[in-house]
């Protein structure tokens, strides 16, 4: 490759993998535009990556790795089409073939590349695909994660994940899901779909589970990277800025939220010196920009504002609970779900006391909401404990323990239940 430089630092498989992770989304997006076929473009990129693993260690990193991957990928795709012998039959998009030097490629894709990536993101997050498929496809195609890593992150077999990806790509091709940025009148709802996928990737990575923690951290990193991509491609939208802020403010507390043994440390007990102040500063700035924007406030921005109030308190006792309650009330209007109601009730307990909050939670439970969600009885138990109604608190903790699924959360509830035993019972 003419753009290759003599190796200055050794190019290892790990370096190549990192380059690939950074460039895969954009390279694939451009290849799809050239080849007009998702599957073919993906195979081509995979072959280009294999070629990179063979060539880069001896030839050195190309000056523009993405252009290199696109060019090699495109040649491989053309070879493959020739092998299939239907080349030249109905492939008008391949007329640019032959003229391909690195310079042409660069000139050709440098300008519309941002749009390419955006089109790819919207295609992968299309509402006609089911949510699981959207998440998997986005991680595979946009983030360049391997099928194996995605399978590991979502605790399914490689085969299941591969199947899921094949089906999704098949639907894109057969049903003709367009490779396009949506029309203006659909843009808001389609961006909402993209944000939902990004947030799901993040929450999946943020969930405290045992084992496989590295791959989970990866998911958080990828979600944040995706949000940054989206913001740079479509700047000035407070919904995506709000989501990025929310994820940064959660991620900032990563180091403080569990012990080395993997036990959960509650917000009020966290060592605040372990919080990442750089992420907090960035998150808080984004929240403030979103709150002061004339655009309609998004639910992510409100959730981020709540998270910001938590991390801005120098100590737990100085948390601005009245403002948090107010924000939950805004959130309840935007997103009237039982989970938001539950969180609102917990915030109310910090302003109006546990009895007022208990009324809200009992009302929620009476409507049958969240009947199998362990945090409902857990929150009820905490309120009952604060009201010195220990016997009822104990029952509620036991109910929560019967519903909880993740081991670290189970241990947390067990600790709270045990602590209850240490409080001398009335009379």
């Amino acid at each position: 490759m003419d753009s290759a430089q003599p190796p200055k630092i050794p190019v290892t498989a790990r370096t190549i993998e990192q380059v690939f992770r950074t460039e895969a989304g954009r390279a694939l997006a451009t290849l799809i535009r050239f080849l007009n076929d998702f599957d073919l473009a993906e195979d081509a990129l995979q072959e280009a990556f294999t070629a990179a693993l063979q060539q880069w260690p001896s030839h050195g990193l190309p000056a523009n790795p993405r252009a290199w991957l696109v060019q090699v990928g495109r040649h491989r795709a053309i070879d493959q089409l020739r092998r299939q012998q239907n080349f030249g039959r109905k492939q008008p998009w391949l007329v640019i073939e032959g003229a391909a030097t690195t310079c042409d490629i660069l000139a050709e894709y440098e300008t519309p590349v941002a749009d390419d990536l955006l089109r790819l993101i919207f295609t992968c997050c299309h509402p006609a695909l089911n949510l699981e498929a959207r998440v998997a496809l986005t991680l595979r195609a946009v983030c360049g994660l391997t099928t194996e890593s995605i399978a590991r992150a979502f605790l399914v077999s490689n085969e299941t994940m591969a199947q899921r990806l094949v089906r999704a790509k098949q639907k894109i091709r057969v049903a003709k899901i367009p490779y396009e940025t949506p029309a203006t009148d659909q843009l808001d709802s389609r961006i909402e779909d993209v944000l939902a996928v990004i947030y799901l990737v993040f929450t999946e990575g943020y969930a405290v589970t045992t084992g496989e923690d590295l791959i989970r951290e990866d998911l958080c990193t990828e979600a944040i990277r995706l949000a940054r991509h989206l913001i740079s491609l479509m700047p000035g939208r407070t919904d995506s800025q709000g989501l990025l802020a929310l994820m940064l403010l959660h991620d900032a507390r990563r180091a403080a939220r569990t012990t080395i043994a993997g036990d959960i440390v509650l917000l009020e007990d966290q060592d605040r010196t372990l919080w990442n102040q750089q992420l907090i500063a960035e998150g808080v700035a984004l929240v403030e920009a979103a709150l002061h924007s004339p655009q309609r406030i998004s639910r992510y921005a409100v959730q981020a504002a709540i998270a910001a109030l938590h991390v801005e308190a120098p100590q737990p006792a100085l948390t601005d609970w009245p403002q948090i309650v107010g924000l939950y009330e805004v959130l309840l209007r935007l997103q009237p779900t039982p989970v938001v109601e539950l969180n609102h009730a917990v915030a109310v307990s910090m302003v109006d006391g546990p009895a007022a909050a208990l009324n809200l939670i009992e009302a929620l439970a009476a409507r049958g909401g969240l009947s199998d969600y362990h945090l409902l009885p857990a929150a009820r138990a905490d309120l009952l404990r604060r009201l010195d109604r220990h016997a009822e608190a104990r029952d509620a903790y036991l109910q929560a323990l019967a519903l909880v699924k993740l081991a670290p959360e189970r241990r947390l509830l067990a600790r709270r239940l045990a602590a209850l035993g240490e409080i001398p019972r009335a009379n």
Binding site: H126, A128, V174, A175, K176, I177, P178, E180, P182, A183, Q186
Partner: protein
């Protein structure tokens, strides 16, 4: 690209629509059909008799087996269809959303297979 829009609704509820409701629906369908004819997207379309008139046919070991009723007993029944021409799935979804029954029933959008 052709898509088949399959119109599903709850027949029992549809039967209770009343004369005025029926007239409104017919007029909405006329408007919609005119719209996609003028837009050049209309290929074909029909309403179907209720699923109680359906017969399901299958051939097993060379023998034709017929059963009374639709293939699947579901909450909603197939009541009609449109065959449309659309640029892609997004355009087909926009048209499907304009089918009057979309407001209370559901429209299944299926790409038509093309044999080369």
């Amino acid at each position: 690209m052709q898509y088949l829009l399959l119109i599903y609704e709850n027949e029992a509820q549809a039967a209770n629509r009343g004369q005025a409701g029926m007239a409104t629906m017919m007029s909405e369908y006329r408007t919609f059909t005119q719209g996609i004819i003028q837009g050049g997207q209309f290929k074909a379309g029909d309403a179907l008799q209720p699923s109680s008139t359906a017969t399901t046919v299958k051939v097993r070991d060379g023998k034709t087996l017929t059963t009374d009723g639709p293939f699947a007993e579901t909450r909603e029944q197939l009541g009609g269809y449109y065959l449309i021409e659309a640029k892609n799935l997004d355009e087909a979804i926009v048209i499907a959303a304009r089918v009057p029954t979309a407001k209370y029933g559901s429209i299944e959008v299926r790409p038509v297979m093309v044999f080369n």
